[in-house]
Symmetry: C2
Subunit: 246 residues, 2 copies
């Protein structure tokens, strides 16, 4: 049974964290909102979740995953569900909780990235919150970005399974959805904050190495070059405003 | 085996969502940072998680729960772990994911509440980001608060188990940790944004009813009057600045 991903069709956004897991696992899935309304897909299928009061358990926002009767929203909860099914998480409860904990921290970082260009309101234009965006971005570049990178670096360094020469992983000795999500966070930062990331990354060499290794994953390397990978653009969470990059 | 909660000792903060679950279940727990350093508790025990490079899986921030060998941080992940053990979540996977999904949305709302008084940086004083706080708070009051309340209201209204006269619940027919967390969110908003909440609440009567009912829970009503419940104050996530309440 194919997975259905319901997400905005023109941005990577939070949906990309789900796409990366599905793609890395080679899972069959439908990117519903990128299909046609004639096929029962497209934007009407996405908006149905928010407009139809017959939805018993309405999501607050996309992404939404449907798998048979199961419907789940919130990126981290979707990955919590997919992890065991796609073999992208360890088997023990401790391992699963730790992977989820890392994912939730990536989600926190992502929300802060969004707020660098929209520190006042997501409902207003960037141009209407530009001075605030400058201040918030400076704090992000100088305080938050180094703090997050240092945390990921420490996790990679302390993961005892990372033997010299072995592929890097955040959890244990195998690929997890948290590795994929950290790849996506770094990839987005490379687009949005290339200068700040370059300055900060000399203190996070393992994080950058993980990013390079995930990009070469046998399935993901093909995905990243395909049309299924939407290009970064100025409508997503990661936006490149040189004036915010310091 | 008693649970250990490691959290800042002088604020409710995110730790309170964990305390409420433990208290509602009548679970034995130690609020570690509120103990004495002489007893191996207090702030040194909390800071150990962040200073000691021997911690294999370091948390990014409190709260942290320790239960035997298990250590988990991130509020929602802690509640994911505690839910089944404290009988504060349903038995089916669908029910557990839905409860977690609600919790993650409450966490998102909470981060936005924090940013009403610290829209630029958590490392700077409120007084240094006051004009930005005014703008962000206005957007929160007019856009975000009504949106979140409408979502919680819809969930309560659509939960078919809420028969007339029955106690309200977000998920199914029994108390879950999400109910407790929504209580806490509303309780904090009553402290921080009493005017805005009063204006918005006529459209969310079930949310306010849930808040009242949880406050009367047989164990929680005692807890809320006890010294274990830290009072709201101007150092936590919920802060009362009348100028931000519109």
């Amino acid at each position: 049974m194919a997975y259905e991903l319901h997400y905005w069709p023109t941005i990577q956004g939070r949906g990309e964290f789900v796409r990366l897991a599905l793609e890395a696992a080679g899972a069959a899935y439908v990117d519903v909102a990128r299909g046609t309304a004639a096929a029962g897909q497209g934007m009407p299928a996405l908006l149905h979740w928010f407009k139809d009061s017959a939805v018993e358990r309405p999501p607050f926002a996309p992404p939404i995953l449907r798998h048979g009767k199961l419907v789940v929203a919130q990126t981290a909860a979707i990955l919590l569900y997919l992890g065991p099914r796609l073999d992208l998480v360890g088997k023990s409860e401790a391992s699963r909780l730790w992977t989820h904990q890392i994912q939730l921290t990536i989600a926190d970082a992502l929300a802060e990235v969004h707020d660098t260009h929209h520190p006042i309101s997501g409902a207003s234009y960037f141009e209407d919150q530009r001075p605030e965006a400058h201040r918030r971005s400076a704090a992000f570049r100088h305080e938050r970005l180094p703090k997050y990178l240092a945390w990921f670096e420490a996790i990679l360094a302390r993961n005892v399974h990372n033997k010299p020469g072995a592929t890097l992983h955040l959890v244990g000795a195998r690929l997890s959805y948290a590795d994929l999500s950290l790849f996506q966070l770094v990839d987005g930062l490379r687009y949005a904050f290339p200068v700040a990331l370059r300055k900060a990354s000399h203190k996070a060499p393992l994080v950058l190495q993980l990013h390079r290794e995930i990009a070469q994953h046998r399935r993901l390397s093909g995905y990243l070059r395909s049309e299924r990978r939407i290009a970064f653009n100025q409508h997503g969470i990661f936006r490149h405003y040189p004036e915010l990059d310091g």
